[in-house]
Symmetry: C2
């Protein structure tokens, strides 16, 4: 293989110019410049797994091999200094890079330094935008961009974001890209009505304001709609996958130069009518193309030659090899004034009955696993940073957060968390996450051992959602460690499967903690099948300190099981605690009313499950509901049950109403003592399809609230966007799907309100949701479909579950009823606690009471409640990556939306910050070096303000601001139990 | 494009060793050496035209682009000195070479000089073997090999013949290869029973004796059967067209090194059981593969690495990159004694009901056009050589024999003349030939003008077979020039469409020539449709001198049409001339008896047309009859007619019985005065298929001859092979198709005989033929089929003809009845005259009688009748290529089979030979330099004799010998009419 290198090294051309905009090819000011962008789109898993795509394995499923693409492109670039290429997915590039010998690496470096190999996005993947949480998006982009930065320096830093395939676009994504220093953004998919409208108005390119809180232009992002999705113009595809004729300019019956040139000129002129400058762009590539780059380049060479030769005959069209950044630069240089966009690009439809709103919910279990994995990854990274260097090797072996970092980054791909991959690929994503969990569990164990100074046999119970945990089920004595990754202390209800009738729980101070035992429900027994056999659950409330842990000793007591205060009623009418009361319909058993006892609010709320009958196509359109597309065959969903069987379980800590909707749909309506939200834990599946009907299950809340067609959803877990039924802010919508066309992504919350009161539902994963009528709110929780929806995946969404009878999904909706004024504070904090929940770690035996090391916090004090510690992670041997986030929007909360000033130097107790560098959001550029292009706007230009000089002792965060720092730190002492010294504060 | 070059030039590796066997890679003497042969198989037209294949146009039909293959392979070879590649089809390579800049040419030269880019065959194409005539095969190989020789020198000369795809193999092909200096031959297709038998007996490789006349080892050729056709072993195909998994040797769930290595070792060991040495070969490539060579090489690199690494664990398998010649060399070095094969590889079957014997006849019109084109090409080349240098530019414009040379070479491809290409490709082949005719017609005109010294407006009538010739139809006076390409004078019946009632014909000496007028038959009127409207045909016998021409002046005479001696009978009973009598059945109208009046032989011969009902598959097999495969649905053909309408036309020159078999089948049984053969001119088509039945039409001759299962067919127009019904000389045949399994290619003749008498039928093109029962002989003349036969062409053989109602085909069978002893002389001479017939050229007006230049011969004297002037062609400015052939087999004729000695210096009158170099048959190596590998044979080694020192004045030809010379010549005078000086001798 060594000899292969010679080819590349020796032929290396002398570098011409540097990278960046100054390396862009010359254009013709008085002509129409057609920027050809050679590119490949490499899904980080879809029909094949990531590895199968990288190697080109399983080409029987789809011919695609990324290794060959990169092998093939480099010599083409090397051979001709005019050629350019854009690459995107670092997950693949990283892997290829690892296998390259130094001479090829050197070639690649030079190509990058010449601006001829350009990275766009630069994330580990091209992430989904509808089902992702911003925390994971920031992480995946940081992972990829860091590799590029460290490997290629400034020339490796992408200027352009490039989401050419995701199925709709979130405003938060634009905001994040802007904060990461991107100069522009190109997208391929948007509603067909929207696109037609933009073409007509020449509004294919504008500035997108990604945040209503951040001061412009901090979240402004120049955004362009590509003309042909991300493919080449019709009949100009020269990849091996295409069958368009090559340009034949030889003496031959096949000679087609005249026809090809005139056809191209027609295409270019038609396209130019939709764009405002004398520059247009053509994406010359598509899915997994350029495996044999010669085909593309050889024919594009001829295209350039013959089209440009027509200039001698008066043609005013100039074709050139370009890149996204060079096209963007040309647009910027045009010095036009651009319109401003405030809304987002959801939902995406490519036809009147083709709304891509099914994938907001598709593969709900994986969507939950992904969210939970993000939670654990944050815990893992925090503990890695807190325990300090060297923690990767420890008493429990070699642990590594990078496995989970990468698995999580891969899971953000727009065919991963989106649920639009083949089943075996979904399995692979889950397997990768599981491997990441394993590596992180070792790391967490090492860290806990270092911090606590003890070497327990730490146990992670991964199946608590179905009441399975062998240690707690069997042990007479065990220890519960509750690690809280938030910057504020939290109260959390610990719930563990046990088999003993009585347990005592002691906290770190040796104080008894109130605990209760309740039976494991039949719902749970059905779900877990033979995975465990715990009959009971131990419940106790635990308080964990900020960025730290508390430890609890649990001891099984002798004696018979005593149900004590627990009661079971046949037909419960209500449950309540000190904050909230929930009423049930005595006839139907359904939830009927919620009362906020603190505020004296009473709202009739009927909640139940329904299913939409999935369309298999009809006279109007052959479109079936599938992994991507939601299309009910009629707008009215079918109730799961008119009456449900209910019973109540009640003790001092919890009141639970069990509702059995059907053999495959049940719910627990739960109120924990001291909590003011109502928890609805639903269990749905296996969805039967024997009747030949695909089913899409929703949980719907109906209230008398006068909502005037409006409802509200979050964007990737951060800012809230108003949604209006049958309406789009950007164009005059012709609504053709009254249900599917009103679905929006719900990443963490959805609410409806009238002038006074707000009903908010928090989700534990991304789901699709809407309000189909005033006062109503629904979330799609699960779907199982018998037909493929013809968007490429080639499989019906029939998740098989344990026994191939269909997947069972369990999840939670947290319902908050409050005033409009108070609701933001409540859902912000509750949602924060949901996606970054405490991590439970068990150990056999009982830690001696009052031992130092049983309680730990890495903060000198809790962060203010409106500040979120978004990232705390080891960066390199001596520094950590730190992101602090103001988690309130401008004006949504009188208290919460205030700016906050922190002294970073006095924040952490486990290490001392010796130097602090503020970075852009992706941490791939120093904040003071960020110089984004300026775009003139219709309402007047928003000029970026230079960042204030950083004073670590006075770091102010405005609403929705995230500030990113690289902190050089000195750990206090990594040996012998950090907690022993830092427990007190 | 200039920059692309840099890549290739700069990376050029230092040359290691030279070309030839000494450049072969090291092998392991004590191991099983697996020779991987990276190769691509590039059909010179099949599903796409040659140009479409070269450029990769119409990839919607088939993804294939030869330009990219060669683009792709070279850098791979360049980058790694261990890699090798074999290329075959010079038609493509030549074209690619023309487009390459000098640095890439330099690279290619070096790769060839290192033996790493090896040419096999080296012909313009990989020719068919069943439907070709040896004359065209010799030409097409000479064309390709000359390009290689002149471009790359000795290292470009292929050592190995490589017919990996042709559908059966002719003995004559082996003979020609041997005479061209090839050391060995590899084939991919042979009868499945034969292959199984050879595998069992380890007789996959042996020496094939290509001639029963030539003294061994002159026509001996080492011949190997490849193990997997020409593809790679199952699951080891790494081309972009394949879906076999790549070798993944990285950390990945897809890692498959252990499985791939053990699987490969199993395959190698299984294969080795069928071969005799410790070397085996694997063809790593297939149709149009290596468009992205990296896929193949990258994975083969890993295969080599990991398989050979197992040697450290005791494996005795060594894999290496190799070439056909290096594999051959290894076999030769084994010094084994090999068995000898005398028969051929026809017919080819790949299953019990899958006999590839349909293509012997498929596309009969194209097969005829190809044969006719060869005839004209020889005329064209001869005249180019005789008229001398500078003739390409002349009074009629620029003429060029190379257009027809190349078109003819392309037409030899095994999907061209074979008839197994798609319809649009067949059209393209015909178009190429037509373009070649045009260029040659200019050249011939120029030459005739030069030779004759007059500048007539030469007219070529290309549609004489349907009595269309605008000049003769309209002109009152015209001149007929009859050029005879044979080395002996011939008598030829000129037959021209006219509209006058009386004509006079005068020869060169001003003597009146007997002529007759007969009406154009309805058969012909139907055939020509509206292409012409001649009512009559003028017939006169003409004698043309050897390698020269005679001129005839034709003048229309005033007066009414006088049928004169011509009579028309309703139901003729016989026709006869001085040599032969033909009787007809008074009831059926069919031919009934033939009498050779000279010898007093009478043979009952019933001749008629029948059709086989084409199988569309049945219970035994789904195989349908198609372009490749002949499979009648039952063995008995259906008679075209029980009785035929007949009438007689008779005059002093010709007697013709017109037989109308059906609306789409007719025949003229014709006797010309002075000729001793019976001519059967049949017209078949459009074959109706409205009844849903595909039809395969035969002409069958039934006689009482006791033939004992034997019949005889020629091999590519040269040596005769005995065929026996339901028998193969090589193995114990299990016959499964009583008709199709007995079909053999008839390129020029087929005969049956008893001890005394022989009935010979000469064909005007290649056809399939057999003898299904003793005394019977049949030829398939046309076929039209409704189903594709699943061998890739993907079209039923439904040749559309003029109005898409089906192609009409007209052809001639010449029937000879004679003694066994006399027959060879008759069929040799008659067949020679058929494939190299005189060329008719017309000119308006009448040449003045007795003008010098009206008669010309380039020979000082006629060649002996057993000597054929196979080739006379301009080679370069000062030399010509000359091939003399002894056209009799050893012992077949008391007189004809005698050796002949010629004085070459005294042969030609138009030029003087100043130097003479004898060459091998392909003219790419001097005869004295030919050193073929020696193979030990079971009956004892045949050691090549050094060629006798050439004495140009005494050149002896033994039976079936072809001797090839490059003669440096001095033309006597190219200006002002050569004929003027050389007419007398």
């Amino acid at each position: 293989m060594g000899a292969r290198v010679g080819l590349l090294l020796l032929g290396l051309l002398g570098a011409a110019g540097g990278c960046g905009y100054e390396s862009c090819p010359a254009t013709e000011p008085k002509m129409l410049n057609v920027h050809l962008i050679p590119h490949t789109h490499n899904d980080v898993g879809w029909l094949k797994t990531v590895d199968q795509y990288f190697y080109g394995a399983r080409n029987d499923i789809q011919h695609a091999g990324v290794q060959y693409i990169l092998d093939s492109v480099m010599p083409q670039l090397q051979a001709d200094p005019t050629k350019r290429f854009v690459y995107v997915e670092v997950a693949f590039f990283y892997r290829w890079w690892q296998l390259q010998p130094e001479p090829i690496r050197q070639l690649v470096r030079e190509l990058i330094n010449q601006g001829r190999l350009e990275f766009a996005n630069g994330g580990w993947c091209m992430n989904d935008e509808a089902a992702v949480h911003y925390n994971a998006v920031v992480d995946q982009l940081t992972l990829g961009l860091r590799f590029l930065q460290e490997t290629f320096g400034a020339c490796g830093r992408p200027r352009v974001a490039w989401h050419i395939d995701p199925f709709g676009h979130a405003r938060e994504q634009a905001s994040l890209f802007a904060q990461m220093g991107f100069d522009g953004f190109f997208i391929g998919r948007l509603d067909y009505q929207d696109k037609a409208n933009r073409e007509r108005l020449r509004e294919m390119e504008q500035v997108w304001r990604g945040s209503s809180s951040l001061k412009p232009p901090a979240a402004d992002l120049f955004t362009g709609v590509l003309p042909n999705g991300y493919g080449p113009p019709f009949s100009f595809c020269w990849d091996q996958f295409c069958s368009d004729n090559p340009i034949v300019d030889d003496k031959s019956d096949e000679n087609n130069v005249a026809e090809r040139v005139s056809s191209f000129l027609r295409v270019a002129e038609a396209q130019a009518k939709h764009y405002r400058t004398n520059h247009i762009v053509m994406t010359m590539g598509s899915d997994f193309q350029y495996e044999n780059a010669n085909l593309w380049y050889k024919n594009m060479d001829k295209l350039l030659q013959h089209v440009n030769a027509q200039q001698a005959n008066g043609s005013r069209v100039h074709v050139l090899y370009s890149t996204p950044s060079c096209y963007l630069w040309a647009l910027n240089q045009a010095n036009l004034t651009w319109s401003l966009k405030h809304d987002d690009f959801f939902p995406y439809a490519d036809g009147p009955h083709q709304f891509w709103t099914g994938y907001f919910t598709s593969r709900p279990s994986f969507k939950r696993y992904e969210r939970l994995s993000n939670n654990f990854l944050q815990v893992c990274k925090q503990l890695e940073a807190l325990a300090g260097p060297g923690i990767r090797k420890g008493p429990y072996g070699e642990g590594d957060s990078s496995v989970l970092r990468r698995a999580m980054a891969v899971a953000q791909h727009h065919d991963a968390v989106s649920g639009t991959e083949k089943q075996h690929v979904a399995n692979d994503y889950a397997k990768r996450l599981a491997a990441g969990w394993e590596a992180c569990q070792v790391l967490v164990s090492n860290a806990l051992a270092t911090i606590s100074g003890s070497k327990e046999n730490f146990i992670f119970c991964n199946y608590l959602n179905m009441s399975v945990c062998p240690l707690s089920e069997a042990a007479g004595q065990f220890t519960v460690i509750l690690y809280n990754p938030l910057g504020r202390s939290v109260r959390w209800i610990v719930r563990l499967p046990v088999n003993g009738a009585q347990y005592s729980v002691m906290d770190t101070d040796g104080q008894a903690v109130l605990s209760e035992i309740i039976p494991v429900s039949n719902f749970t027994r059905q779900l877990r099948r033979d995975r465990g056999n715990a009959r009971l659950e131990l419940i106790f409330p635990a308080v964990a300190p900020a960025l730290g842990y508390a430890t609890f000793a649990v001891t099984r007591l002798a004696g018979e099981r005593q149900l004590g205060p627990q009661e079971i009623h046949a037909r419960p009418l209500e449950i309540h605690n000190e904050h909230v009361r929930v009423l049930f319909d005595p006839v139907t058993g359904l939830l009927q009313e919620i009362q906020n006892l603190d505020k004296g609010i009473t709202l009739p709320v009927t909640q139940g499950f329904f299913w939409y009958n999935a369309s298999i196509g009809n006279e109007e359109s052959s479109q079936a509901s599938g992994a991507y597309i939601f299309r009910p065959n009629r707008s009215e969903p079918i109730p799961m049950a008119w009456r449900v069987h209910t019973y109540l379980v009640k003790n001092r800590l919890v009141q639970e109403v069990y509702q059995n909707f059907s053999a495959w749909c049940s719910q627990v309506v739960r109120l924990y003592a001291g909590e003011s939200h109502v928890e609805l834990e639903w269990t749905v599946g296996p969805i039967p399809t024997d009747d030949g009907w695909g089913k899409e299950i929703i949980s719907r809340f109906d209230t008398p609230l006068e909502t005037d067609g409006c409802f509200y959803t979050d964007s990737n877990g951060r800012e809230i966007q108003e949604r209006r039924r049958n309406f789009r802010p950007t164009w005059n919508l012709s609504q053709t799907e009254p249900v599917a066309g009103n679905y929006y992504p719900v990443n963490s919350r959805i609410y409806i309100k009238n002038r006074k009161f707000q009903l908010t539902v928090l989700t534990d994963r991304s789901q699709g949701g809407t309000s189909v009528s005033d006062g109503s709110l629904e979330l799609m929780v699960h779907r199982r479909l018998l037909y493929d929806d013809d968007r490429g995946v080639g499989e019906p969404l029939m998740e098989p579950g344990d026994f191939h009878d269909g997947l069972v999904v369990r999840g939670r909706h947290l319902v908050l009823l409050d005033t409009v004024e108070s609701s933001p504070t409540r859902h912000r904090l509750q949602a924060q606690q949901e996606f970054m929940a405490p991590q439970l770690v068990l150990a056999p035996g009982s830690a001696a009471p009052s031992t130092q090391g049983q309680r730990f916090t890495a903060l000198r004090q809790d962060l203010p409640h409106n500040i979120h510690l978004l990232t705390l992670a080891q960066w390199d041997a001596n520094s950590i990556l730190l992101r602090l986030e103001h988690q309130f929007e401008q004006g949504e909360s009188a208290n919460g939306s205030q700016p906050v000033t922190l002294n970073l130097l006095n924040l952490f107790s486990s290490f001392t910050i010796t130097a602090l560098q503020e970075m852009n959001l992706a941490a791939n550029q120093r904040r003071e070096d960020v110089t984004r292009l300026t775009w003139w706007l219709e309402p007047g230009a928003a000029r970026p303000q230079p960042p204030p000089k950083l004073d670590p002792s006075r770091v102010t965060l405005e609403p929705m601001e995230i500030r990113t720092f690289l902190a050089t730190v000195q750990h206090r002492d990594t040996g012998g139990g950090l907690a022993a010294r830092w427990v007190e504060r």
